[in-house]
């Protein structure tokens, strides 16, 4: 069972790319989901806004899958000390 952060990321991907929610899984690559480079930038922007984090260009450019995005996001949330509080909204 995915945790709350992962669930929220999956929701964001489905909403951003207008995909059926069940099509977005914890192991999906962006390519499998049909996300190109511009979609990926859009998605990371949505994640930054939702979780109130800032993703550097180097990290953003290295993310090509859902598990990578979730992993990097959890690291950023841990660094900002809000990982146990879940999404701010």
């Amino acid at each position: 069972m995915p945790d709350d952060i992962t669930e929220k990321v999956l929701d964001l991907i489905a909403a951003t790319k207008r995909l059926p929610r069940e099509q977005v899984t914890v192991n999906s690559s962006f390519e499998e989901l049909g996300l190109d480079s511009l979609d990926a930038i859009n998605l990371i922007y949505e994640v930054e806004t939702e979780f109130d984090v800032s993703v550097s260009n180097e990290v953003a450019n290295s993310i090509t899958s859902v598990p990578q995005l979730v992993e990097k996001l959890k690291i950023l949330l841990a660094e900002s000390g809000s990982s146990t509080q879940g999404p701010p909204k």
Binding site: S37, N57, A60
Partner: protein
């Protein structure tokens, strides 16, 4: 020719920096950048607008239009061409600009969105419109022929110069002032570029393995075009000749380039110039320093030039004057023409590490003496719009 750029306020200074491989890239000084992810830009430095314009005229001119006028004044003075009444209606002004007067628009919107003002300055529209530069050139010199501005993102200036070239070549006009101008340093626009994640966190390293993106630049360059016979007859200083123009659209993705589109535009320019690929000695590359462009441009050049690609010098002067968006092609046209005239190819500055995906002779860091008879200058825009000019010494 006239030019104002991060490398200098005129042609002589700009060319000195280009031939010496000295970048005009540094920390952005015109704005508070504490809330930006990137810190560096290629700004025009030591520029005092009041030395160029009276106060009442300055009120009308966004920085991008100031640059357009300054470059046009320099170009016309350098050319010796007088816009006499008989010529006024037969002269064109075609300029490129991607974002127009962004700083003027930004400050107008700050007034209503942030400062709770219920008014925006009435000159916001005439200062912001992308054709302001062309219109002010027309008004200052009394040029009453075709005057317009092309806005095709990073290809704007090449599209503009190509159109002007075709109008002069076909006899639709007797002369043209053409080029591009840009001044993208407004906070809102910089944040938008930041969001695109294509701006480098350090500097612009085209074709280098460790390239991290583009560096935004500003400035303007303008050229006076006229038929060769007319220029010779009046004893003009002739810098070079535009001999071909080609354009294409990727019809692909709004921001990811293809190699087929740029290759098609280069082929079209060669065809228009009636040149064979192996006659080209130098390409001033689009060479933005983004991972995507430089790899794709390399592939496009290899596609068009085959084995001759190994004999070509290819450099990106954006490594020095930055990416001036709608003015980029104009700055690079000046660099290309001067390279042929002065027999020195300006380098790709800031180069550190070869990239197997960019395996061209990119003239790293040091300018190179070379006799070049024909050259291309590439511009490829977001939106997949490609425009290539062919030049002769």
């Amino acid at each position: 020719m006239g030019i104002i750029s991060a490398l200098g306020l005129n042609l002589a200074d700009t060319w000195t920096s280009l031939r010496q491989g000295i970048p005009g890239i540094g920390p952005i000084q015109s704005l508070d950048i504490s809330k930006l992810r990137f810190q560096n830009g290629a700004e025009v430095r030591d520029y005092a607008p009041e030395q160029h314009f009276k106060p009442d005229k300055l009120d009308l001119l966004d920085r991008f239009a100031q640059f357009a006028l300054i470059a046009a004044r320099q170009a016309l003075a350098d050319s010796g061409l007088k816009i006499v009444p008989e010529l006024a209606g037969k002269t064109a002004v075609v300029t490129g600009s991607c974002v127009g007067g962004q700083a003027s628009q930004d400050s107008g919107f700050v007034a209503v969105y942030k400062n709770n003002s219920n008014r925006v300055h009435p000159l916001t529209i005439p200062r912001t419109m992308a054709n302001a530069g062309a219109s002010h050139i027309s008004m200052e010199f009394g040029i009453s022929g075709p005057v317009y501005t092309i806005s095709t993102a990073c290809s704007s200036a090449n599209h503009a110069m190509g159109q002007a070239f075709w109008m002069v070549r076909s006899g639709q006009v007797q002369a043209a002032i053409t080029g591009g101008s840009e001044s993208p340093f407004s906070f809102g626009l910089l944040k938008a570029w930041e969001a695109m994640r294509v701006v480098s966190s350090d500097t612009c390293r085209p074709f280098s393995k460790d390239r991290r993106g583009l560096i935004l630049g500003e400035g303007a360059a303008m050229m006076v075009l006229e038929p060769m016979e007319a220029a010779i007859e009046r004893g003009a200083r002739i810098y070079g000749e535009i001999v071909g123009f080609g354009m294409s659209s990727d019809a692909g993705h709004i921001t990811s380039p293809t190699f087929e589109g740029p290759a098609s535009a280069m082929r079209a320019a060669l065809l228009d110039a009636q040149l064979a690929p192996d006659q080209i000695g130098y390409i001033n590359a689009h060479g933005t320093g983004t991972p995507g462009n430089d790899q794709t441009e390399t592939r496009a050049i290899r596609e068009v030039f085959g084995a001759h690609a190994n004999q070509l010098a290819v450099s990106s002067t954006k490594s020095m004057h930055g990416h001036a968006l709608g003015a980029a092609g104009a700055l690079e046209a000046v660099a290309t023409v001067m390279a042929m005239r002065e027999k020195i190819i300006p380098p790709t500055a800031n180069f550190t590490t070869p990239d197997p995906d960019c395996d061209l002779d990119i003239v790293p860091n040091q300018a190179r003496p070379a006799e070049v008879e024909f050259a291309l200058s590439n511009s490829f825009a977001f939106g997949g719009l490609n425009a290539v000019l062919a030049f002769r010494r």
